[in-house]
Symmetry: C2
Amino acid sequence: MKEIADGLKALSEEVRLRLLLLLHSQGELCVCDLIGALNLPQSTISRHLSYLKNSGWVEGSRRGVWMHYRLTPQLSPLMREILDALAREAANRPETKRDAGNLALYRQNKQSDEAC
Amino acid sequence: MKEIADGLKALSEEVRLRLLLLLHSQGELCVCDLIGALNLPQSTISRHLSYLKNSGWVEGSRRGVWMHYRLTPQLSPLMREILDALAREAANRPETKRDAGNLALYRQNKQSDEAC
DNA sequence: TGACAATATCCGCTTATGCGGATATACGGT
DNA sequence: ACCGTATATCCGCATAAGCGGATATTGTCA
């Protein structure tokens, strides 16, 4: 029971929830995309990604200096179901649209030669 | 988004998760039943019930000195869906059966004239 | 009115947890 | 090998949060 509670603990903090919802809708993103989308300091994003990785929500893969994250395929059916429900609920919320809009803007402004 | 995270915060602590799952399966229980089921101090149970009430998960009704709790009918569809999924997952877990067994035992041993 | 029981709240303590800036580490390019 | 960039981790700080025993409050009964 404690493992279920611990799995949910990841979702009970707004920054991590926003990160997971972005990864849920976008598939895979690199750290700079997530920083651009959430408009938070790099250390904040990195620390939460580390937390999510350690609690079994995401996995990361390094491509040169760039680090990419996605939902882990090993997500349990329970957590997948919960995240799906959260995603449906959040889909039309202004905060979700703001994060997605920031992401699009960030990508637009990125110089192509420094793309991750 | 923070309200969703705060709603989930209630579930990210084992005692509250067990309380909610018991109420989910049993409908309505009084405080002494919950104390008997979880085998935790009265103040622990009471504090968590207060938390759950304040965060919109349960409602309480007083009957004389006895206090009864149930899931609030005003639970949002999202939270209801999440709790349903958790209940299905937890249904066959040993901890869930232990709590239900303790509840049955407690009720069996209760003197009928001090029943709540 | 006083005693008793049920429950809510408080208290001191301890642990958990999030923050952003600073720094350590790793990678790639020259 | 050095420099620049990306990312992970650390640090000091501050706040959050859970615990069980003690206590305050409420309701009931005689």
